[in-house]
Amino acid sequence: MPTNYAGVGITFPSTVTIIADGEDLSERVLAPGIRTLADMSAYLYRKLPLLYDYTNDITSGFIYTYAGAGADETTIAAGVKVDVPGCVIGDKISVFGYFSATRVIGGNPGIDMYMDAIDDALGTPGTRTHIPGAHFGDIGTTGASNTDQNSLVGTWTVAKAGTTRICYTFNTVGSTSQDTLVLDESVCIIAIRYPL
């Protein structure tokens, strides 16, 4: 017979037995109610939305410069990412991004910026995939130093258990020139995990 009960946290009982007046207060009667309460609270604890974030403020210079040509699509700046641990299949991750970008070299067309997700990034990584909704197109089509302030939002559904990585990528599809993109002033990735 256990003397303590931590709650299994898997099932959420739909009913709780209420002890009636005059009922015998035996272990047989009381324990199921206590266990149900423990299960419910463990379940709610496991369902807590959790915040993960990356922020970097810089008032001069840049934090990343990418130089390439043609149809490149590259994960930018290895350190600019958020790792969301303990994900299971079906979890939802709400993502928000903010960045300032200057395209200092390059012509038309502009650069497309995405927020991407990589499931199980620390194990057997899944395919890096654009997060639906988190897309910003045509950054700095003139090639001049005009800085765009951008914000992105999207939602990712975890398809493979493990640590899901949220990062930025950009795409210079169509460009035939070398492109240099500078992220400056501020960059932010916010990921809120909503467990299944």
Binding site: P2, Y45, D53, T55, F96
Partner: protein, 188 residues
Amino acid sequence: MTVYTPDSSAWITDIPIIIDGDKRKASVIQPMYQKSADRFAYLNRVYPKESINNQTGNPLTPTYNSSTPWAIEPNSYIDIPNCAVGDQIVGKVNATITSTNGTTLSYFIVGIDDVSGTPHSGRFSGCQNMSHGVYYSNNGFYIKLFGVWTVAHAGTTRVGFGVAESFSPGTHLDVYEVTVKTVLFSKL
């Protein structure tokens, strides 16, 4: 009657279960219910809490004229009570502004810890918008900011839309619409 105030400071990892033969006394049964109450109090404390402040006007701030950093525009903030050190706040600001004179402006989400006690102010991380916006017309300009604030001083934290003039104090700025939204993530 015994009145029990839940302890919301810590997550209780287990709940004792009475066993057959226990004496059916309050000293045996009450701790179980206390720990259950503690769990719910803890969950209530740490569950993310969302707040929003929408303001519209014509304009909200007709004569903005300041070079003070970390200043928050009138009516453009949310006060979040009972913040603890280590809590995190996600902030989002949308604003429509115009400027009929002046020069380069900078936009921020501003945080002020312990605003009703000993205030400590600063900018949210990840969302500063520096040295942009030379606007001399009434065409309007749409500001959008995301950022994160980590509470460093317990108390009520104020979150709002801040504007600073980088180079030319005296700019006339009108804020026509502003939305401040926050989500408080309490430290687990």
